[in-house]
């Protein structure tokens, strides 16, 4: 257990730039862009005398607002709270993709694998520590950074509105920052399960390839996909190309991007259409996202991912090219 903790720590030391600084910098850029947008809006409205709400004073509007309108404002605050996750999630997906591809290849290339293998650490533990880094450590850091970024964003939103005489506390009672935090965190375990086939495939390529793991990782499923589509077009073997692309190619390459489960998985019993538009958090709430646990797509992916990771461990043991 102690060894495993230090293995995780080692991964963090090596990939501090990707795991920590990439989300932090992305969040920072996101906040700066928002500050710029708010300033632009303020400057333009001041210069042209434009008033929010078509000439009606914003305070007047707020005073007359009914509960529904307040809910919309609260929803906007909630969106502000979770919107940074979108951008940070994409960056994190890229980081995890390239982390997995390099995780069992880079140390073979620079021969430092000989140092790691000179320590009493089993290959299984080494590989599993890298899986855990990709599936749990990186997403947890990304979510925490998103939460901090979201809270700052919320403060920004509130400060901007307070200049227009809007009651900040009333606004905050209609937003749900705690629920937003809980929803974001609740998606980490689901992400780990969903991303497993991609993490497994990328690490298998990283562990097995003698050179150019990226090429192996991308070319193999894409070439297979093209073949399947080709047979499909000719009506041979009764294979459907689109099924293969959606359930194999995309799953082994793109599942590392958070949120892709919402896009790819058609088995999800809760569709996005029936969500309340005044409740943007519902999309991320466990009530909605954990419907994925009923999907065979998820579990077949988990099993495939475990098999691929077992293959990566085997390659880690036998690959001898140093």
């Amino acid at each position: 257990m102690k060894t495993f903790y230090w293995l995780l720590k080692r991964e963090f030391w090596e990939h501090r730039g990707g795991f920590l600084w990439a989300p932090v910098v992305t969040g920072g850029i996101f906040l700066v862009l928002n500050v710029m947008a708010i300033i632009t809006a303020e400057v333009l409205s001041a210069r042209h005398g434009v008033r929010f709400g078509g000439g009606v004073d914003i305070q007047e509007m707020m005073r007359n607002a009914d509960a529904g309108a307040w809910q919309q404002v609260g929803a906007a605050a909630d969106v502000a709270m979770i919107s940074s996750m979108g951008l940070i999630g994409i960056v994190m997906g890229i980081v995890v993709l390239f982390y997995c591809l390099g995780s069992l290849y880079d140390d073979r290339r620079d021969r430092s694998v000989l140092f790691w293998k000179s320590l009493p650490v089993s290959n299984t533990n080494t590989v599993l520590s890298k899986v855990a880094s990709a599936a749990i450590v990186a997403p947890v850091i990304a979510v925490v950074v998103s939460i901090v970024c979201g809270l700052l964003q919320l403060i920004l939103f509130v400060i901007a509105l307070s200049f227009h005489g809007v009651n900040v506390w009333q606004l905050l009672t209609y937003s749900h920052p705690l629920r937003a935090v809980a929803s974001l965190l609740s998606n980490v375990p689901l992400y780990a399960l969903w991303a497993l086939p991609a993490i497994g495939w990328l690490m298998l390529c990283s562990s097995g390839a003698r050179s150019k793991p990226f090429l192996w990782a991308v070319a193999t499923p894409v070439v297979l996909g093209l073949l399947v589509s080709w047979f499909d077009i000719m009506g041979l073997f009764n294979m459907t190309g689109s099924w293969f692309w959606a359930n194999v190619v995309q799953r082994v390459l793109l599942s590392v991007f958070p949120g892709t489960s919402l896009l790819f998985d058609k088995h999800n019993p809760l569709n996005m259409g029936d969500l309340n538009e005044n409740d943007p958090l519902a999309m991320l709430s466990p009530m909605h996202t954990y419907g994925l646990l009923a999907s065979p797509n998820l579990w077949i992916g988990v099993i495939a991912g475990l098999a691929l990771i077992a293959g990566a461990i085997w390659f880690r043991r036998v690959r001898d090219d140093s």
Binding site: D110, W116, S118, V121, S322
Partner: protein, 285 residues
């Protein structure tokens, strides 16, 4: 004495070459064994087999473990320095010590820090900022702080200047080696280690061609400097090697009668390099 490594019928074939060809040997505890051979002779393959880094045919027992299946337990008792280039470039001195201290049960942190205090390394320094000599100092500090029974060194001083090379072997002898430890070392700089070795193994084309201890080397092999008129007699005694220096011939004999040789000229003990060159004649031809 108990054996640290016992190999029986060790064979390893790569795609188109034989790296080890039915090799058998035994290494006792408390020895410093030089495994010496030309490039591509199978030295590194033999070491990799001992360390469980490669698959092979035959029987191999290292400290009672089979390196193929019991690597994890074995590596608690075995340390190894491949060459100076294998420490990860991103790691800091402090991180390397922390990591090894926490994953290696036999690591003594105080010993490691005491050794590093004698160098110019600082805790926050990264490997990529170090010279080759400094990297090997760090690696040696890590390894010497581990109470292992077998230390394997594969070209540990490759590319280092003479100051670092001398310091490396001196530290090993003074601060590390004792009768409970065993060191296996391969190197091309034979002359630098020949006076620290207790045993000598020559390997050529995947076979052990000489496996002996250093005392026996002095008894078996004799070099004699013979003037031109006695050269023909010396040649008839089937020397291993002959070379010319200042108009005289130097012959190298294996197991010849010492008294006869002494009557022919000046007798001395051959250096390991001379013995090596004589044994490996024609390797690259």
């Amino acid at each position: 004495m108990n054996a640290v490594v016992t190999a029986t019928g060790l064979s390893k074939t790569y795609k188109n070459s034989i790296a080890l060809n039915d090799v058998s040997f035994r290494i006792e505890s408390g020895r410093i064994v030089g495994l010496i051979g030309p490039n591509g002779a199978g030295k590194t393959t033999a070491l990799k087999a001992i360390l469980g880094l490669t698959d092979f045919k035959g029987e191999l027992n290292v400290l009672g473990f089979d390196p193929r299946t019991q690597r994890d337990q074995l590596m608690e008792q075995v340390c190894f320095i491949a060459d100076v280039a294998v420490l990860p470039r991103w790691i800091r001195v402090r991180e390397a010590i922390d990591f090894v201290a926490n994953v290696h049960p036999r690591f003594n942190r105080a010993k490691c820090e005491a050794f590093l205090a004698r160098t110019k390394l600082t805790p926050n320094q990264r490997v990529k900022q170090m010279s080759k000599g400094m990297i090997v100092q760090l690696h040696l500090a890590l390894v010497m702080a581990i109470d292992a029974r077998l230390l394997v060194l594969d070209e540990p001083t490759l590319g280092l200047d003479i100051l670092y090379r001398k310091q490396f072997y001196q530290s090993l002898l003074e601060d590390y080696f004792d009768e409970n430890k065993t060191i296996i070392v391969t190197t091309h700089q034979v002359e630098e280690i020949e006076n620290i070795l207790t045993d000598l193994m020559f390997i050529r084309d995947g076979r052990i061609v000489l496996d002996t201890d250093m005392d026996t080397v002095g008894e078996r092999f004799v070099e004699v400097m013979v003037s031109a008129e006695k050269a023909a007699t010396a040649r008839s005694m089937r020397p291993l090697d002959e070379r010319q220096v200042f108009g005289k011939s130097i012959f190298l004999f294996d197991g010849a009668d010492r008294a006869t040789l002494e009557s022919m000229g000046e007798v001395r003990r051959p250096t390991v390099s001379d013995l090596f060159v004589a044994t490996m004649k024609g390797t690259y031809a």
